[in-house]
Symmetry: C2
Amino acid sequence: MQNELELIEQHKVFDGNQRRYRHYSSTLGCVMTFSLFVPDLSRWSSPPLLWWLSGLTCNDENFTTKAGAQRIAAQLGMAIVMPDTSPRGDAVADVSQWDLGQGAGFYLNASQPPWAAHYRMYDYLSDELPHLLSNKLGFNGPQSISGHSMGGHGALVMALRDPERFCSVSAFSPIVNPTEVPWGQNAFQTYLGEDRQNWRQWDACELLKDYQGKAIPMLVDQGDSDSFLGEQLQPERLAQVAADINYPLTLRIQQGYDHSYYFIASFIGQHLEFHMKHLQRA
Amino acid sequence: MQNELELIEQHKVFDGNQRRYRHYSSTLGCVMTFSLFVPDLSRWSSPPLLWWLSGLTCNDENFTTKAGAQRIAAQLGMAIVMPDTSPRGDAVADVSQWDLGQGAGFYLNASQPPWAAHYRMYDYLSDELPHLLSNKLGFNGPQSISGHSMGGHGALVMALRDPERFCSVSAFSPIVNPTEVPWGQNAFQTYLGEDRQNWRQWDACELLKDYQGKAIPMLVDQGDSDSFLGEQLQPERLAQVAADINYPLTLRIQQGYDHSYYFIASFIGQHLEFHMKHLQRA
């Protein structure tokens, strides 16, 4: 199955196509699925690509079914790839916690047993899956990245670690400073071990403190009725670091919105328009 | 709990509210949930109401999470109520079939044991739930109705049986002639018994043959890649009866679309605009 890409589901939507693929990932050592929206190719021949990283407990289908993003992406002529949130399968380490193990890969490369064997989502998303999309499906154009919660953390970290790759980055309700909040500390201790110095490279606030790269336009939306806001998310930490180094962050606090996909649906159109503006300049 | 309406979930979405309610239904003899989208009431003080009836296996949340309808309803100033598809609970008759029993009420009043005790979805949606929405939530304005598959059947039957109630009716991939297709025959035999004369009052094609009521504007969308099209749906049967009596039906065959919510999402905006046009004339 190596290097094979199997189309396992396909639906016409807004004149484009919502697809689901399965492939063996040599990086992760397991079979993975991902979803892909492709706009009407008779109208948009080389659509730019947005990466969407989902949050805790999600797989590649939550954003696909709940965000209503295809309506806007079809109008703009944008493709969206939606990877899974962790390695998967009976051979892959797991625990009976919703915020750790399968469904909770935190978009990093684990160093600790038993996690290090499969939990290499950063390498999968930086290297293997982009090459697959390029080689097998022809996506060689400009890219941007977005995500929600744990996936917002993933999007910010991926952009700040590899700024030449992305035209823009956005996030909904991201975990901006995982080394300082319970979700992140729990995951990082488990996947990365006790040495907190090794945690910093997977933390958007820490990366931004020492940032020397290109200033990628960054949009963050956060609902003020989000029950995780005060303990887990704390976007003001990112705003403070961005202000300290004069980084172009737009942080919007959206009144009355919570952590759900209803919040994402309400503002995903504005995020796609934000990304499209920067993708078109590439 | 009689006559009590319990708000069990609420999310801000597109400046409006997505809510979920629970109540005891005396018509059905069980506890029911329904979902309701209300647009921003500071902008739209008396929104008209669209009923959405879902298909086999669904509950009140499928349309809520997957159709992306709130984006358009919020722009138009329209409320949408999404009931469940059958009575529910351990005391309610059921079978281990996905197209019969709980999740498959077919929007009729059953006459056969053990179904007759609870399966009275027509009365629930014609009488009890509208009164609850009027008395408890203030929805007294004009109404329209739509639905998908089994819910498309429900929408057409409810409109044709009670034409003064609705300004317009639409359906996605409806079962238009249940007395002549396997899904409908199986359900009607089970819920209504062997006498096919009793089936006719729950069949849109049969109702339309003898129709004497107001000509409610009717829009039907059907994907031509729908795997149920040839055996279960056959919209040409409805088109033939409508042509025979010169009824104002618009039937659109949408190329490449299937039976999924991706099809609904792609055209729900046009359906809401169709309904709004007729609701505003009321």
